[in-house]
Symmetry: C2
Subunit: 291 residues, 2 copies
């Protein structure tokens, strides 16, 4: 294990804290499903996903501070889809938005370095402020990725308890500890992420966060919201999937102010003409719940 | 849960069975690490990974039947890297090789459909014979991906017990069953994969397989090799990571004939001039162990 890199004045955690304070917690998911392209009158193609992505960035800028493009819907179109994603990422950076790449990458250490360089290198057209990553190969497999992110002033969100019901059995599996105790897989991820932020000296808001679905009964997953102090939480599950923004504080307790409230079809389904207004309303709703 | 699609005469499982019988189990991993590009005298760029990939395909054709490009090292270069990967995939198809895309994708169902279409659609430049996928969101989250793969005559390899030591704690976590018993996360994946192949009527070799690292003590992960009948096994961990091909039968027991023996730096480090001969030797070594 290498020494933790020194925290940077422009760390992801610090920048996220500033965005949360000024623009609030709304995170606009850019998920160009084929049926949304249809609804928007756009072609089901790389050019369609580029157009939807660019318009979603425009509709978000000024009303919310964070966007989260879903990489799968760009990857669908191969290299042309990635070129479209690069244009969307550039537009989001130019608009001053914080960008979370939702890619859920996860592999062994030396291979993860390839992904980390793709998403964090200053010279990469895919560079983002933070990336979602998957811990099936162990939190330790993400060591190099976390360090590379911190060095680049970027962040990662590690999947812990996801919003889909089929995930429950595995994410609540019991991991044995050295001292004879055990904890759930999800709680183990949360603990390791928090410890990593603290070891990096990030005492306010960390650069490494977790994904905790808003539809999840966190207590029954073994996750204590009191343990989330200083840990950014990316939260899918609001809207279509069933969770209500008005329950933000009751779901996340003391961590509610660290939460990125992800919404996608709730604003995208307003269409190209209605989206800016839908984003404004959704951003205001999140701010009002935390006022 | 939708009805299982009927098995196809040209299912991935049937094609894999034929390749294993004629060319043997060697699977050449195309992992263009930056240091390998240096060793090969190639630029550290999209053009370098394209060139290494194309030469690796040439060096494999005729001596082995399966290649496995590691997507991370192409993604490193953004859309240009994916364009390079598309060229390598096309060359591998033209050479008659079976192609496993090593991408380890994993997301919720409707998002996984985007990945499934990227890697399995007949019109996609990224189309492969099989894709590695990650089950952190539950085997159920892969339902649509498995069905799409089967319909396309493609396959998936689901991560179960990976070859890296940091994965052990999570992959041996105990998942509670409805009947009060429990099994490890890794064993649960193996059981669900085997059941899925059987439900699809694939009685010889299935189209859905598992990743089981050759460095793993499978018994201590709760995985019984007798349960692997008819399940293809993608096996990293040979060579540099420490497992020996001569131990193939002792590691995988009755499943040894279903194993894709993955090797990457073992043959790539022979360089552009030595690789064809290294692949020939490695393929022969695998065949000899099963003779």
């Amino acid at each position: 294990m290498t020494a933790a890199p020194a925290p940077s004045a422009s760390s992801f955690g610090a920048r996220l804290e500033s965005v949360l304070a000024t623009s609030g917690g709304l995170c606009v998911g850019i998920d160009p499903h084929p049926w949304l392209l249809d609804e928007w009158g756009l072609p089901t193609s790389a050019s369609g996903v580029r157009e939807l992505g660019l318009r979603a960035v425009e509709a978000t800028a000024g009303s919310a501070g964070i966007v989260k493009p879903q990489v799968a819907f760009f990857e669908r179109w191969g290299s042309a889809g990635f070129a479209a994603l690069e244009d969307v990422l550039a537009a989001a950076r130019d608009a001053g938005l914080l960008v979370v790449g939702d890619a859920k990458r996860g592999d062994v250490g030396s291979t993860m370095d390839g992904y980390a360089e793709a998403w964090f290198s200053p010279d990469s057209p895919l560079r983002v402020d933070a990336l979602t990553v998957s811990p099936y190969l162990g939190f330790g497999s993400l060591r190099g990725t976390v360090d590379r992110a911190r060095r680049a002033g970027a962040g990662v969100f590690v999947l812990a308890a996801t919003s889909n019901p089929e995930a429950r059995a595995g994410q609540t599996a019991r991991v044995a500890g050295a001292d004879g105790t055990s904890r759930t897989l999800a709680a183990g991820i949360v603990d390791q992420v928090r410890d990593d932020d603290q070891a990096a000296g990030e005492t306010r808001l960390g650069s490494v966060g977790v994904v905790l679905g808003a539809t999840v009964d966190l207590g029954s997953y073994g996750v204590d919201t009191a343990s989330l102090t200083g840990v950014p939480v990316l939260a899918p599950g609001f809207g279509h999937q069933g969770a209500r923004v008005s329950d933000l504080v009751s779901i996340y307790g003391p961590a509610a102010h660290n939460v990125l409230v992800s919404t996608s079809r709730g604003v995208l389904s307003a269409g190209p003409d209605g989206m800016a207004s839908a984003v404004r309303d959704a951003a205001e709703e999140v701010r009002a719940c935390l006022a």
